[in-house]
Symmetry: C2
Subunit: 181 residues, 2 copies
DNA sequence: CGTGATTTGTTTAGTAGTGAACAAATTAAT
DNA sequence: ATTAATTTGTTCACTACTAAACAAATCACG
């Protein structure tokens, strides 16, 4: 990995942070490139140096988070659900503004779907209908059941201002996964 | 004013912030230029682009705050003491880490003296021994009295974690100044 | 002491960010 | 529908930041 120039990293961070902040304040349609460069404290041209337009910026932002979540899944694949969930909820917490705006009604309508699809892929290998208690279930039903509930729980937790700690969430969701998979 | 390049402003901000943070963690002597550049996320060379060494950086940092405080004094010169004090304490609050580290025992020993000298200059024109109740006082005694107590109050407020709001402080110190000047 | 490791301060060639200008495309208002 | 005003996307010459290399100075410690 040819480590990226620190100026690039800083500019892109500032730009992405600016977009998230602005999306939490007004509709994506109403956000202009100038708005973003002002907020990021970056020249307007700098944005075009990295992104073709604001849609591309949003795409890449989402893509990056999906990728990060993939990394987390990878690093926790060997753990118990209870433990594996902790980094997950910690990640959600430390990116609260991103997830809350993306899941908000006027956020990024496509994000919920992408999030769902991502989880389908991740849980695909986890469902085990050979286990005794799951004999009567078909794989895809169980998979949809789990993923839908997972998305729902996350969405509820985020949009309700994270009423429980990541630890508490990891533990409880861990129990529920254990029980159903 | 030939407005400064935004890259310069950002770099210098990051560098100054880094120094303040590091000084709140360890002694100035133990801080290296590399430490600062690491913390500021800036190339080591960038520091030398703006400052000759870490002493120069500290000098300029202090000088800037003294200057800012001068601006505040200027903008409030027409107000009642109570009102004039508010921007003052708000400034102290928003630069809490700077003032608390500079006033700390192992901070910048010279800062307290510079701060004192600055206030002497600012209050010089405020003392009025022609007023009836101050007839028996000589100007320099009254001046030293006021400034010493002002520095003391600020130092106490900062090093004790700002136990009162800037508003409360501005009000009370306003009363005390009114009473003595 | 001395000597080995850090830290310093400078230089270098290369890269990213800068503001300004511009025409083209959108959007808003009458 | 015709302006007028904004926003877009691109180009440009210039400047600041970059990492890396270097010798000199300072530090640490056996």
């Amino acid at each position: 990995m040819p480590k990226v120039d620190r100026r690039i990293a800083k500019s892109q961070e500032a730009i992405k942070k600016a977009l998230i902040e602005l999306m939490s304040e007004k509709s994506f349609d109403d956000i202009t490139i100038q708005d973003i460069s002002d907020r990021a404290n970056v020249s307007r041209g700098t944005i075009y140096l990295h992104y073709v337009d604001k849609f591309d910026l949003l795409d890449k932002l989402i893509e990056e988070h999906i990728h990060q979540m993939g990394e987390i899944c990878e690093s926790t694949s060997e753990m118990e659900y209870k433990d594996a969930n902790l980094p997950w909820f910690e990640y959600l917490e430390s990116n609260y503004l991103f997830f809350s705006t993306m899941l908000a009604s006027k956020g990024a309508p496509s994000f919920r779907r992408q999030f769902h699809e991502f989880l389908i892929e991740e849980f695909k290998d986890e469902v085990d209908t050979s286990k005794e208690e799951n004999q009567e279930l078909s794989e895809d039903v169980l998979l949809q059941f789990i993923v839908t509930s997972y998305v729902g729980i996350v969405e509820w937790w985020i949009t309700n201002g994270m009423p429980y700690s990541p630890q508490a969430m990891a533990e409880q969701v861990g129990i529920l996964l254990e029980r159903n998979l």
